[in-house]
Each structure stands twice: as C-alpha cells, then as structure tokens.
C-alpha cells in the first residue's frame, strides 16, 4: 500500500490548543487509515493533551516531535552541516539586505529555518503539510530547497490578519508550495485577493467532525425560558457583544431567554461591561472554558445556538452545534454562510447587527416546529457533508494526487463536492 510507504509530516505551531480540535482529528484519522503520519510542533504540553483529548493520543508518542533548536532536547540535533548551511544563508541574506541591523533582527529566524529544515530531512518525509500559512512563510527554505512535496493550509488567521502591510508577504509561499488547502470557497476568494496564483493546485476541504459523538435526538424543551448558547473564545473576532445586545433587545420585547457563553479570553472585562451597560445581568452568563464532555452537556440543554462572529474561518463549534441537532443563528462572516444553510439549518444574518440576530432568534422562539425542522436538517447536512470520514477521504485523495503526479504543478482545481451555499438575508 502506498499509504504506509509515503511518510507524511504535519507541521503545527503549538500543540495542543483547545480551539484546534481539527488538527488532532486529522492526525488520528489518518493514523487509523494506516498512514505513516508524523506531527512536528514547537511546543507540546502533555498535560494539556491529556485533559483536552483524553484517550485519543495513546501509542502516538513516537510520532509527535517537539522540535526547538534552543532546548536541551534540540541541542543534540545540531550538526556541522547545519552550521555551515546557516553561515552560507546568513551571508546571502546579509548581501541581499545590505544593513547589518536588519540582518541581526532576522538571525533568529534563519537559525530556526535552517535547523528545522535539517531536522525535517532526518525524518525523510514524502510530503510535508504546513497546517498554517504563516508557518510555511516562516520556514520558506523548507519549501524552496528540498525535494519533498509541500502542502500548505490557509486558514482565517493567515489570510485576514498576518502581513497585511506587505502585499508580497506570501509571494514565496505561492511560488514554492506544491498544493494549497483552504476550508471553503470564501477563504479561497480571500486567498485569491492576497495573490494566490490562478494555476495553483487548490484543494477545498471543509473541516469534519466526529458525528457519532454529538448525535442526539432533537427535543423541544418544555422550559419557559429559552436557552441560547455560544461556544467561543471571548475575543473580538467572535462578536459576542452583538449577541448580548440582541439578548437585551429580546428581553425588551418580553421574551424570557437565558444566554450562556462558554469560553474564556481577553475580552472578559469588556463583555462584563457590555452586560452591565445593557443591564442583562439576569439573562447572560459567562461560563468560562469547559472541556468537551461538559460542552456536550451544555449543548444538550440548549434551544438555539448563536454565533455572531465578526471574523471567522469556518467554525467547528457551529458544526458541532448542528450535529447535536440545534438550530443556528449566525452572522455572515467568512465561512459561516457555507457552514450553515440559510433557512434550512438556521439563519444567516448580516454581521455587526444585533437587531438581525434578535429578529432571527425571535422567529425561532415563536416557531418551535421550525426549530425542530432546522435541527433535524442540520444533523443530516453535517452527517452528509462534514463528517470526519469524508474529510479524511478528501485528504487522502489530495495526498495521493500530490504524491503520484509527475510534475510539480497541477493545473486544474480540485474541489470536494461543496454544500449548497445560500444567499444571505437581505
């Protein structure tokens, strides 16, 4: 089998982080299919790995490499060859940039780049997949000066926030990577704007979730108080203040609602102020961060799921909510309109608009049967389009195409059968 002989290396930054479940899902999924997968990261926290993902990483210790040239562990991997290489690339960079000052600012980066390229070569991969565009940009020599195939994932973070000042920020990545992976059509469009070449091999693979974990029959809760939930970091990207404002509007219209936000972040103080400002102490709770099992419990008691993001990649939390049979009210930020089918599994409303959220939630509160219908639709839709199986299938075919093709560049764009995207509410 080709799977066992072609070694695939997934490259991530920190591992694990609580909001990046997709990486671990992919890693475990590929392993189960018999791939020879290795994971490379800068930092690894074993305790976190076990509390976030209990029992998932058993027997994978030798496949997770924590590589940092400045630790004791990384020290023995230094070789004379690396030093020579480093010296040469430093000289070249000096010649190119002219001033010693800028050179000295970048030297740390050259050390990382060169060291990591050699460490990677010691694994002997057939394909290296950089899970973030910024990682590829930092390790550009691993793409340029090596013989293995390179794939790069571009996520919301890479496209929307990094290197906006420099129009040529990703130029080298566009040039040297063999294939690109984006989560959805919207991210593809944004990547195009930042200079993704037209003839590049782009694979559009939406994230997948393990559906069986979330499956629960939808039921209409008989409670008088409607439970609204958001699972998100307390961050400006998630636009929670708009949801809180919407709750205030609903409260003024006479509905009994309870809104809980599961997650933690730097905007807690600000959100507390917003709650104070709209005087909704009695119907908004900031629950703090919870682990997977607890989140499932919260979702089970919820009636409507809200995601008011201002900026978003694709959002796994919304997928999980749909999988547990909840109707979703979400904003039209980036990937969310592809994630939620408008009028079918939930409502997609304009972003930064509390009134639109309140209107959509009001409709759902008044029509319990719509809620039931949307919940059911959501479950089937997620099961059909966003299952983990399907995602792994897509990655498998992507890797096969990459490893089997003779030329380094593929001309046609391969797209996984995409779910239907509906127009947003006007």
């Amino acid at each position: 089998m080709w799977r066992e002989h072609a070694r695939i290396v997934l490259m991530v930054g920190r591992f694990p982080t609580i909001s990046e479940t997709f990486i671990i899902n992919k890693f475990v999924g590929l392993l189960q299919r018999g791939f020879d997968v290795h994971m490379v990261c800068n930092q690894y926290k074993k305790s976190l790995a076990h509390s976030y993902y209990p029992n998932t990483l058993i027997g994978t210790k030798h496949r997770i490499h924590v590589w940092n040239p400045f630790t004791w562990r990384g020290l023995w991997m230094w070789k004379p060859k690396i030093l020579i290489n480093l010296f040469v690339s430093c000289l070249a960079a000096w010649a190119q940039q002219g001033t010693p000052l800028r050179f000295s600012q970048n030297i740390r980066r050259y050390v990382w780049q060169t060291w990591r390229r050699h460490a990677m070569a010691s694994l002997g991969p057939a394909l290296v997949h950089f899970e973030f565009g910024t990682l590829a940009q930092e390790n550009i020599t691993s793409l340029r000066d090596t013989s293995w195939k390179n794939a790069v994932s571009f996520r919301g973070y890479d496209i929307e926030y990094v290197g906006l000042d420099d129009p040529h920020f990703y130029n080298q990545v566009w040039e040297y990577a063999d294939a690109f992976h984006v989560l959805g059509a919207d991210l593809k469009r944004r990547a195009d704007k930042r200079g993704l070449p037209l003839d590049a091999a782009v694979f559009q693979i939406p994230p997948g979730i393990n559906f069986s974990e979330y499956e629960a029959p939808f039921k209409i809760h008989k409670n008088e108080v409607i439970q609204l939930t958001t699972v998100a970091r307390l961050d400006w990207k998630k636009g929670i203040e708009y949801a809180i404002e919407a709750v205030a509007l609903l409260k003024n219209r006479g509905f009994k609602v309870m809104y809980q936000v599961i997650g933690e972040g730097s905007y807690r103080e600000y959100l507390k102020w917003v709650i104070d400002f709209y005087d909704v102490h009695d119907c908004v709770i900031l629950c703090g961060s919870k682990n997977k099992v607890e989140v499932k419990k919260y979702l089970f008691e919820t009636d409507i799921f809200i995601m008011a993001s201002v900026s978003e990649g694709f959002c796994n939390a919304v997928l999980e909510a749909q999988a547990s049979g909840l109707p979703v009210v979400c904003s039209d930020a980036a990937g969310l309109p592809e994630n939620v089918a408008h009028n079918e599994t939930g409502y997609v409303v304009p972003r930064r608009s509390a009134k639109a959220i309140a209107d959509a939630v009001e409709t759902l509160i008044c029509e319990p049967h719509t809620r039931e219908r949307m919940g059911g639709n959501g479950q089937t839709r997620v099961k059909e389009n966003f299952s983990l199986e399907k995602q792994i299938d897509a990655f498998e075919s992507m890797y096969r195409t990459l490893l089997e093709e003779s030329s380094s560049r593929q001309t046609n764009v391969e797209v996984m059968p995409a779910p239907i995207i509906h127009a947003r509410v006007s």
């Binding site: 929307e160 400006w236 905007y267 103080e269 600000y270 400002f277 930064r352």
Partner: protein
Amino acid sequence: MLNVPAMKSLLVLGVQYPPESFLLRRYRALAARGFKVTLIAGYAPTTHPPAYEGVLWKRDVMSSSVPHWMVVGYCIQALWIACLHPIRVGRFVGHVLMRPFSWDLRGFLAHMRLFLCKEDIIHIEWLSLMECFTSLKYCIDARLVVSCRGTQFVNGRDAQENNASFISTLKRPAGIHAVCENFARTAREIREKKNSDVTTIYSGVPDPHKMPIISNVLSFCIVGRLTAIKDHELGLQALKIVRDLGYDCTLDLVGDGTDMARLRYAAMDLNIQNAVRFHGALNSSKTMEHIASSGCLILTSIHEGVANVVLEAMALGVAVISTDCGGMNEVIVSGYNGLLVPRHSAQAIADAMMHMIQNPLHAKSMAYHGRLTFLRRFTIEKSTRSWIEFYQGVIKNVA
C-alpha cells in the same frame, strides 16, 4: 492657629517608567516649586534625562529586577532601622507575623521601607494598587493619598459587588483625589463620615500658544491606546455611516495596542481602508500636530476619567466629539464647547460627525469656547496650585 508643618516632600508609588505624560507634567511642576519628589518604580533609569529634572527615581524592592545582593543590603538596612526604632518596627513586624501568608521577604522589606520613609505625603497613583500595600493600613495612613482614575475606579466598583475590600481600601487613606466630580461623589458616599477629604482636581495640560486654522472639516482624528475599553471600532463604524451618506471624510488613528489587528480588520471589512490611516504610537509633539491638522477629535471610550487628549484638543482649539463617560460631562457642555453623545452607539457618533460637517461655523464656535474653557479651568498652573493646596490640606487634617 496651629503650627501646621508645610509640605516639603512627596513620595509617589505605583508609577511605571516611563511615566504617563500627565503625571510627569505634575511632578516637574512640583519639583520646579521646590518640592522634593521621589518616585518608587520597578525600574529606575540610571542616568536622569533632562525631562525628569528634579524628580528622583528609586527602585522598588518588590520588583524582581532588584538583584539578590541588593536584597541582602536591604536586610542589613532593615536590621539597623530595627535597632533605632524598636517599638515602631516591633508593631510592624507583629502585624506581618499575624498574617502568615504574607511572609515574603521582598514584600516585607518594601513595606518596611515605606513604613519608615520620611516624606510628608505618600501618594499612590492608582487606586487598584492599594491592594499591594496592605501594611500601609496599619502604619502610615496619616500621610497616605490615593488617586481614583478612570478604569481603575470602575474596575474597583466592579469588585465592590463581590467583596468589601474595595470599601475598606477607599476608607483607609487620609486624602483621596478624584479625577472628576463623578468619581468623587461615589467615593464620598463610600467614605460616609469624612466628607471634606475627597477632592476633585482636574488635570492640567500645557498651553500650546497657538490657534490652528481648521481648513479641512472632513478630517477626523482619534487618539488613544487601542484597547477594548476605548471602543475605537465605533469610530470606524460611524465613519462608515457618514461615508455612505456621501461625505468623503477621513480618520486618523494615533496610538498602538492590542486592538490593532481588530481595527485593521474592521477597516478592511467595512471597506473604508482608504479613508483610515493608522499612525501607531507617536510622541506628544507629533500627536499634537495630528490633532491640530484635523478638523475634529473624537473620543469613543466607554470608561474614562477625564481624557487628557480632549483637554489637549480644546487647548489647541479643535472641536471635540466625546462619549458621555466618566467625567466628560463636567468638561464638555454639549453644543457649547463640544458635542456629547451616548456611549456605545455608532449612530450617535455619526450624527455628531454629520453635525460638525454640516455646521462648520458652529464647530468653529465650539472650538473657540473649548479654548476658553481650557484657559479658565485646565491650565497646568491651576492644577499645580490645587495639588499643593490639596496636599497641604491633608497634612493640616492630620495635624
């Protein structure tokens, strides 16, 4: 008439290096009048730049940047002091021993040093820092002065719901300074008995001695740290609303902070990236230039004491739009020397911007009256005078 000791020296705690410009201005003014000002900070400069003339920096024992050999030195010093003042030190040590969890050498030494300091007034610049100096409660409350400022004060009020520490903190010092009457009122309510010792002193800004000619009413300016509490995104949303109505106005953002990515994204997302310029953090003269060259300054904060940038703009004779937060309504009379709008509402700010654009004469008159207000109430001389009066009053009360 009692023989009241005059205030000669001042010890300031809780200032970071480099200090905020409005603090520095005050210290320099006090030093210029012959007071001895000593600052204790985590980091102290080894050579004094000319800007700090007359102001003495000392390193804080509590900070981790102090090397161990210096701690040993402090220990010896503390033993020596214990020999000289056995009763006072005994009381202090007794107090520390009562609370076994505070057996931290650095903290102990820092408190000891404060306890025995010779200054007439000890001023803690931020109310929230009072929690760090618990031993002051038992030792030197006679000379203690605390400032209630914007964010710190409101956060303190938040804690007030949860525990009583805020109330006890506010009851402790001999004198309280509030940056605006709004905070002073709350502080008085909490302190109940002593009504007279909460004083409002507005900060003063230097007089630029020039009046700009506002040529472009379509350019707006926002100055401040880019943090959530300043709510700058509202300014961008307001700009979007005004631009959608067909006015080609621009916005300059001066400042840096954690929200930079958020604002850049918002500018891109709202499709006004060509109308917004991000300048990053600038020094004060360049900031003043930006304010002077714009037609109007906008303050979008949700919390504020009295924003110094608004006072600076008024001194420059630039029209101001401000949210009605903290003490801003004590500075601005809406329609007379600026426009006040409700907090957290982009539409309200947009309306105010429209008003400024459509009535340039009114904007000009507001700018003129802003300048008058500054000359009457917010000059640096006036504020220094009231600071000295305040310190003298505290000493008098104690005596």
